[in-house]
Symmetry: C2
Subunit: 214 residues, 2 copies
């Protein structure tokens, strides 16, 4: 797919400088207060060069994001090889919050960029989603986790955690979300229904959207 060309020496150097500065500025959270041109200057690079390497803010974000995702995927794989499936899942999700907490500015920035309708990042997170899918699938196979809710739902919730930066009580609430997810994923004992009735019956029906009330 990506036929990566050998890239000349100085090009590589500048590119690296840009990425490094980007990670730094992302983490500080100052990315949006910065003129893109000024960012170039800050990284010791001309405007043209910046644009040559990263045509848009999103492209830059994507590159940074890739690193993040790769690290998380590694971690997922390591956990899956070490722990029983459901524990691996738990550890991964809990760790995810830790990670976001430690790099709040970055998570914040990425979530913001993600929300801009540039599905560029969605593409980048494909790998992450695969990792989560694997974790969930393993836990399902192990029998500890229900099989009627896909990993996509978990991804959505994670997205919510990332996007809800600037909530005053972010950490506690993020942990809360994970707790609910994990508790919710646990295979129901016998009584399928939770409480009350779903507004629309659509358990095994992913086609027709029901345009019910308000």
């Amino acid at each position: 797919m990506t036929a990566d060309k050998p890239l000349r020496a100085d090009a590589r150097r500048k590119r690296e400088a840009l990425l490094a500065k980007a990670r730094e500025v992302f983490d500080t959270g100052d990315f949006f207060d910065l003129r893109f041109d000024d960012f170039a200057r800050l990284a010791g690079v001309g405007t043209g060069t910046l644009y040559r390497h990263f045509p848009t803010r999103e492209a830059l974000a994507e590159a940074v994001y890739h690193g993040e995702v790769a690290a998380l995927c590694d971690r997922a794989r390591r956990l899956q090889a070490t722990l029983p499936a459901s524990e691996a899942l738990t550890a991964f999700l809990r760790g995810m919050v830790d990670h976001m907490d430690a790099h709040k500015g970055l998570a914040r920035t990425l979530a913001t960029l993600m929300a801009d309708r540039s599905s560029v990042l969605a593409e980048g997170s494909r790998a992450l989603e695969q990792a989560v899918t694997d974790l969930v699938a393993a836990a399902v196979r192990e029998g500890a986790v229900r099989d009627d809710v896909g990993a996509g739902a978990v991804m959505m919730a994670l997205h919510g955690i990332g996007a809800a930066h600037d909530r005053p009580d972010w950490r506690a609430e993020a942990d809360g979300v994970i707790t609910l997810l994990l508790a919710g994923l646990r295979r129901p004992h016998s009584d399928q229904a939770i409480a009350g009735t779903p507004s629309t019956r659509r358990d095994a029906n992913s086609g027709t959207p029901a345009s019910a009330g308000v």
Copy 2:
């Protein structure tokens, strides 16, 4: 707080026109492809007038959002008055997805704007959060729902649903999130722990962030 002045007749008319057009364009999803100036023209209003009424895109969004939130809060109150607490909560959350599904473009637009670091909207959703908080609190009082996870977590997850527009299988996944939330909220039977151990013990400790993992 907001000392609403009587507002002259023509002003009211223009304002209304702007809001109507806004709702329309939001719902179509074309809001971001539109120069703000052109939006004014589209609503049959001069640029100056647009800016007088809504100084920023976000201000406009907030106004539209207010209507949405009010409707949802009404619905929450109605449900709470009609149904047992846990059923009311279920119905509300399920209905929320229905609503987002029916007005996907609008939800999309709002979520995007929400993510731009303009906590203007966060302010606007205060009321919605209060409604959810009330629903959860009632369910807790009724004994059907755990009391160690606040409504904030639910808000986060909802935010995730809204923000994760443009997922190909959005509807099913959104339903999945709600299912997990509801199942997770159900008061645990006896075994508190879900599966495995949380990476950091912090159940009654909202202060120190643990910079663990990855």
